[in-house]
C-alpha cells in the first residue's frame, strides 16, 4: 500500500492509496483534475504529466527514452517531469508528492 499525494494546478491536495497499476490509473479512477490519461497509459497523449519533487525522484526511478522524447516537446516540462502512466505503484512510492503539470 502506497500513499500518493497529488497537488493540483489550483493547489488542492489530494491523497490517495494504491496497491497496483499505474499512478495515472489511480488518479483517473479518483478524478484528479488535470490527469486525463486519454491514451489509457501507452505513452502517446501526455495528458498524465506530473512533476516529481527532487527528494522523491529516487522512488519513481528514471523516465525511459520514449517518455523523455515525449516530454522534450512539452512546453511545461522540466527535469522533474514524468508521465505518471509510466510509474507503477508499489510500496516504494509511499509518501510521494506529485505536482500535476500545467497544460494547454
Amino acid at each position: 500500500m502506497a500513499k500518493i499525494t497529488f497537488i493540483t494546478t489550483d493547489n488542492k491536495t489530494i491523497t490517495l492509496e494504491g496497491t497496483s497499476g499505474s499512478v495515472m490509473q489511480l488518479a483517473v479512477d479518483n478524478s484528479v483534475p488535470g490527469i486525463d490519461g486519454d491514451c489509457g497509459g501507452v505513452c502517446s497523449c501526455a495528458t498524465c504529466h506530473v512533476h516529481v519533487a527532487p527528494e522523491h525522484q529516487t522512488k519513481t526511478g528514471e523516465a525511459t527514452e520514449i517518455e523523455t522524447d515525449m516530454l522534450e516537446l512539452n512546453d511545461y516540462a522540466n527535469e522533474q517531469s514524468r508521465l505518471c502512466c509510466q510509474i507503477e505503484i508499489s510500496d516504494a512510492l509511499d509518501g510521494i508528492v506529485l505536482q500535476v503539470a500545467e497544460s494547454d
Partner: protein
C-alpha cells in the same frame, strides 16, 4: 500478404532521406516522414502554420472549394487556445456515463443487426451508419438526423475517386446554416446552441466562426472513423484469434484501440504552411510552401516501434501520432476512442468470426507513394456466437 494488411509505402524514403515530395494541385508538399521530425514540426507552430488560407493545410488542398475557416484547427496559438477551450469540454462528453451508455446501445444494435444478414457491405452498410448515428450523440441532435448524413455518402467534400466536389460541400454548408438558424430561434442542448451561447474575450462567436467549428466536426471525424472501423473489421476477419484474445482479456481493449489506430493511421497526413525559409531533414523548404506531417509514416518508424508492421494488440509503449501531436491533436479523439473501444468489446462479445467475401482497397495517390488507407468496399459475413 493478408487482405487486411496496410503496407507501409514510406519506409525507404523515411530511412534514406526523411522526406518525400508530392505535387498537390500545383501547390507542392514536402512530406515529413520520421517520427521525431513529425513531432518536432507539429510542435513548431511558429514556423509551420495552421492559420493559413482556409483549406490550404489540408492535403489534397481544399482552397478551391471552401472559404470557411475550420476552428480551432485552422487557427494558431495564442488565439487557438481560446477557441479550443470553448469546444474542449463538449468534445470530452463521450467520457460521461450517459453518453457511453447511449453509444453502447447504438453499437450493440448495429452489430446485432448485421449478425442476421448473409452479407454486409461494411463501408456504407456498417461503418458510415455507425459513424453517423454516433455523431448525433456528439452533436446532441435527434437520432433521425443520422439518416440525412448517411445519404450524403462517405465523404463530405469528395465524390467518387477523391475529386474535390464543391457542390457536395454546399449541401453540408446549407444544412449547417439552416441548423444554426433553427438554434437561434429555438435554443436547445445541441452543439449549435452551445456555440451560440459561448463567448471569447467577452464577445459572442460570429456565425462564420460557429460554422467553422461545425464543419470541422462533420468533416474531421467522417472518413477517418469510417476507415478505422472498416479496417478493424477486416483485421478481425483475418485474425479471429485476436477476437478471442479480446474476449478473454477485456482489460487490453484500451491498448488494442491505440495499436489499431497506430497501425491504420486513418488520417495519412496533415499539412502546414511554412512561414519563413527553413530546413527539414537537411532539405531546404521555402517560405509560403507547404510541408505535411505524415502520421502514417511516423507510426511505422522502426526507431520508435518494435516490429512496426505488426499489430500487437497489447503493445505497452505506443507513442503513436495517429491523433496528431501537440496543440492541434485531434479534438474528436475522445469520441473516436470511445467508439473503437465499445466496438472492439462488442465484437469480442458477440462475434466469433468474420468472412471476407469481396473487397476493393482505397489507395491514396501521393505521387511518390501509393498508400492503402482502407477500403472503398468490403463485403463480409459476420458469424455470431
Amino acid at each position: 500478404m493478408k487482405k487486411s494488411a496496410l503496407p507501409d509505402p514510406f519506409e525507404t524514403a523515411r530511412n534514406t532521406k526523411g522526406y518525400g515530395e508530392m505535387n498537390d494541385q500545383n501547390d507542392p508538399v514536402t512530406m515529413i516522414l520520421g517520427h521525431k521530425d513529425v513531432r518536432k514540426c507539429a510542435h513548431n507552430w511558429k514556423t509551420f502554420q495552421s492559420g493559413a488560407t482556409p483549406g490550404r493545410i489540408v492535403v489534397p488542398s481544399e482552397v478551391n472549394i471552401r472559404d470557411t475557416r475550420q476552428i480551432p484547427f485552422e487557427v494558431d496559438p495564442p488565439e487557438h487556445k481560446g477557441y479550443r477551450a470553448i469546444v474542449e469540454p463538449w468534445f470530452k462528453r463521450p467520457l460521461e456515463a450517459d453518453y457511453t451508455a447511449a453509444l453502447t446501445k447504438q453499437i450493440n444494435a448495429i452489430v446485432d443487426e448485421v449478425l442476421t444478414k448473409d452479407a454486409v457491405e461494411v463501408v456504407e452498410g456498417f461503418s458510415l451508419r455507425l459513424q453517423s448515428r454516433a455523431l448525433t450523440l456528439l452533436l446532441n441532435t435527434p437520432y433521425e438526423e443520422a439518416e440525412t448524413w448517411i445519404s450524403w455518402g462517405t465523404h463530405v467534400f469528395r465524390s467518387e475517386g477523391n475529386a474535390l466536389d464543391g457542390e457536395k460541400a454546399n449541401i453540408l454548408y446549407d444544412y449547417i446554416d439552416e441548423n444554426i438558424s433553427k438554434a437561434i430561434e429555438n435554443p436547445g442542448n445541441d452543439l449549435y446552441s452551445m456555440l451560440l451561447k459561448a463567448t471569447l474575450d467577452g464577445k459572442k462567436l460570429t456565425r462564420e466562426e460557429i460554422k467553422g467549428v461545425v464543419v470541422l466536426t462533420f468533416s474531421g471525424g467522417r472518413d477517418t472513423i469510417v476507415n478505422a472501423v472498416t479496417n478493424a473489421i477486416a483485421y478481425f476477419a483475418e485474425h479471429p484469434k485476436s477476437l478471442l484474445k479480446l474476449k478473454n482479456e477485456p482489460e487490453i481493449a484500451c491498448k488494442a484501440v491505440e495499436e489499431l489506430i497506430r497501425y491504420f493511421s486513418p488520417l495519412t497526413h496533415m499539412g502546414r504552411v511554412v512561414t519563413g525559409d527553413t530546413e527539414v531533414c537537411e532539405h531546404a523548404v521555402k517560405a509560403d510552401s507547404r510541408i505535411s506531417l505524415c502520421w502514417a509514416s511516423a507510426n511505422r518508424d522502426a526507431r520508435v516501434f518494435e516490429n512496426p508492421n505488426e499489430v500487437i494488440l497489447d503493445r505497452k509503449i505506443n507513442p503513436h501520432v495517429g491523433f496528431g501531436f501537440s496543440h492541434h491533436n485531434c479534438l474528436g479523439a475522445t469520441h473516436a476512442r470511445q467508439i473503437m473501444n465499445i466496438l472492439v468489446n462488442t465484437l469480442a462479445e458477440k462475434v466469433t468470426s468474420i468472412d471476407i467475401i469481396d473487397y476493393k482497397e482505397n489507395i491514396e495517390d501521393l505521387d511518390e507513394f501509393k498508400r492503402k488507407v482502407g477500403y472503398d468496399k468490403l463485403t463480409v459475413k459476420f458469424n455470431g456466437q
